[in-house]
Amino acid sequence: MLILSSLLLFILLAAARDEFQEELVIRPLHSGDIYASFQFRTLWDTDFLQEGQKVSHYRLFPKSLGQVLSKFSVRELHISFTQGFWRTMQWGQPFIPSPPGAELWVWFHDTVSDVDGNWKELTNVLSGIFCASLNFIDLTNTVQPSASFKPLGLGNATDHRFLRYATLPREIVCTENLTPWKKLLPCGSKAGLAVLMKSEKLFHSSFHSQAVHIRPICQDEQCSSKAWELRQTLNVVFDLHTSGQGKKEWSLFKMFSRTLTEACPLASSSKVYVDITDNPELFELSPATPLLGQAVVLGDRRTYSVYDLIMPTSSMVLSPCALGDMLRPLLHAERYVAGFGLQTGEIHTVIYNNHPYRAFPVLLMDSVPWYLQLYIHTLTVTSKSRDNKPSYIHYQPAKDRHRPHLLEMLIQLPPHSMTEVTVQFERALLKWTEYTPDPNHGFYVGSSVVSALVPSMVAMRTNFTQDQPLFSSFVPVKEESSYFVRVYTEPLLVNLPTPDFSMPYNVICLTCTVVAVGYGSFYNLLTRTFQVDEPSPPLSKRLANLIRRMRGVPLLT
């Protein structure tokens, strides 16, 4: 009895140590689209990696992920699946950026001896968990960025030997990836905000991105103990133009074909924020909410109407909104392939600093597959038509069929400028088994990553408090005057020289003919010994000789 009660107590104590929050932010964008961002956070103050302690009791934290973390000694894990491209120039900055396709980056614990082995196994396991082709991540598309991907959680690990980064730009994200992702939520899609996630609607959008971020964080301001944070995010941009028949009006039901009724019973907080910063007088929210919140996010002070689902009022949000002038995103990047023909080409990366008077440095990271052979001596960085010398360059050349190129540069962007990074490449001729089943489609090159501390218009909050909205607290802010932004460029589709695969039959026929006729006859000519042959005796003589042989008389010559 005593044992049982103490066990119960233990369970209760353990239960008290994890918590779940959910949040939905809706922001009408200037282009007339609606951006909806879900964030689900599970906090658990346990330590998976502690020696000798095996965590086996799970409550809110998904067991499948917990086991993965402890088995592979993962310190930090970030995985995202994105369908579509975030249009920075139209939509502004997203709360959590992600490149098209799948992206996975993992910091391993520094006790791991065989990082590559762990990485390989981890990708295969994750591939199973998320029903995605992460198993296609191998050494040929994995890099170890030296500066661009610092741990976001606790711990100042800087040895990038324990970091692995890979993208699959071709990954197609669909409902089969969404379902396992929803299953990781404590309430599944049965209750709470996740009710809205009807895949039919989520994939009828301009942009869809789902992600899982796991990291250790401080439990409180003093950082006396460590907690694990699992953040599941889902970002969707709905196109009102196609679905709304031209009306600038939206509601939860129109977007998701569901309405919100209640919070997830396991959640400690469940809130819906509607961004009303731009032209608040033009907004008409129904039901109106008395709660107004302010948050500083991505260097901008925004005002939100807050709906708390724990103390619900109603569930419909409806608002006609008008277009306003958009603040140009301060940092913006794009990339394209220049040139024509199938031999060489040039990758252009263009980075815009739209800040009127502040220069700031950015870290550019490019991971290029080996079959584009970069000519690194042709690397040029120009801003305002002047040579801009990067203050830091980390270049790791590719090895054919083994590892990709990795190029990292720290570039100072002058204020209000366009910086162009160009590098020429040659297209490799692959072995015929190395082509994909659709070689004429082209080969993908993953997005390049621009990471920067962008000067902020308003003071950022640096103190760590629990009560600020989730969407504004993902990336730790270290100083007041700037905030961290990561911008992904579009992936590239590059055509490589491709043989005509319908030709093998013809090739076989042709080679056989060449071998038979050409080689055979030459061989014949070269090896034959020529000799002058006697003209054969006439028929009459031969007949005579035959008769003579029968008679035994000496033959005629």
């Binding site: 220049a338 040139g339 023909g341 004429n440 579009e490 589709l493």
Partner: protein, 614 residues
Amino acid sequence: MGLLSDPNRRKALTGLLTRLNTPICIVCYLAGIVWFMGLAFEPFTLRTYMSENAMGSTMVEERFSSGERALSLAKEFDPPSACCGLNGMPVEWLVKAMQSRGLEVFTQSFSRKLPFPDENKERYMVRGTNVYGILRAPRAPRTEALVITAPCSPGNTNNQAVALLLALAQYFRNQIYWAKDIIFLVNEHDLIGTQAWLEGYHHTNITGMEYSPLQGRAGSIQAALSLELSSDVITSLDLVLEGLNGQLPNLDLANLFYAFCQKLGVLCTIQGKLQRNDWDTAEGYTHAAQTMMLMVLKQACGRSWGDHGLFLRYHIEAASVRGINSFRHYKTDATTIGRLLEGMVRKLNNLLERLHQSYFFYLLPSLSRFVSIGYYMPAFGLLAVILLLRALDLWVHLGAPALAAVDGVTEPSSPGVLTVLTPVVISHLTGVALYLLPVHLQEMAVEHFPVSETEAVVLTAIAIYTAGLALPHNTQRLLSGEGTEQGWKVLKLTALLYLAVLLGCTALINFSLGFILAVTLVPITASITPHMPKALYAVVMVLLSPAFTILYCVFIYQELIEAPVSVSEGWMLFLSVISQGILDHALYGSLVYPLLALFIYPCWLMFWNILFWN
């Protein structure tokens, strides 16, 4: 191979070939011509079929219905702002119109100074703006794009096409199924604008164009369609395929157009000629042959016959759809054309790979029949083999000096390198002069003669061409004295092989050009010797020289498009064709003019040299 290892039989074979050389050559020539003419005969051609799976059986339902709106838009576009009128393109109007339709709109300004004024289109300093709007496909990562262009150049009213483009953009914007971004491009100054846009998009500069860099891109372009509706009443649609340097888009693009024309019941033509079903009658065959000849002539001249032609260089499959008003009893409304384009774009949107399944080398005697490279190459091969046979003949003759020795004539030692090299070098220098001088000497010519720049260029070219006839013959005598029997044979052998290589390479890239040159050059070059009546043969040679070939082509072309011209008109056309050829080379990088000036003409001069050998 026993044939070659046995000296007797080898001797017999070469003996046969040298003895029967002339008859074999004549037979080959005739066979080549007959083969070529037979290509248009329907039983010898193949029926076109869709090779690309993604475009074949997939169902596409066309729902575009705002053709009327497009027409009223065209009217709005036309009078006040005078699109395509004298004031240039209404850029702001277009930007606003595209923006209101939910596209990302960008502009590109460009300027180009032509090497000399283009009198056909009356332009010299070209300055213009391209406007393009990108329809971003939902949930697509900006890696692939399709392009629809409508040229909007001064003087030709293409406002219907622009309006239709905008109506299509509006309709497409509301659809969810796009997998590729769609770029709607309205380009000013037709080909120059397209060239500027393409160079900007691919960040290249091959023709010295000045342009502002593009702001918006959408990945690698998979296919492009150009739309030209010049008339208010459209009776039929014409498909134009011939691109720069005779490049053709993948045949599947033509199949796609044909399939939708059939589906929607639109009258469709190629080379402006309808299809006929009576292949077994003489008229039916003539019709097909005319259509094919038109294609051959258009392809041979190596210019881009529509905006699409410039896309081909960038490995973008492209075709132009041109609305024509020529068949009285039919009328195609804007909605149907819109549906046709919608269907084509949707099928292209379904593509998983670039168009590559079908043929890139073909001739079309009608839209539903095609001649593939395997069928037409033998026609050229039969002509080219004549050159090789003659070369073999000469080689055998050169390699048998023993016969001469028997006669007791002291054979001079084999001709020095200089005897051959001198005419070769001098001919090529003339070619270089023909290539460089016309454009560079125009100012001087204008100063000294009462002609315009364009006339100056063309007339200089003709003058140099004619001067070349007088200059180089007997040049070898300067260095090596009297021309010998051996000397001209070696020169002719070299020239024959050179011509064979030239024509062979040309035909591989641009069959039509290679074939036309072969038809005119082969007979005279194969038969030329110094022992012929000089005056007569000189006339024949000149009449079969490359310049006259162009002249004949002009007349035949005019005859085939049923717009015959008189001799003087033909001469004016000939002059403008030359100026166009030079301009095409300077503006878009067409290779026909340099090929003719730097290679074919010098090669022909070498034979001219042989005629006057002594």
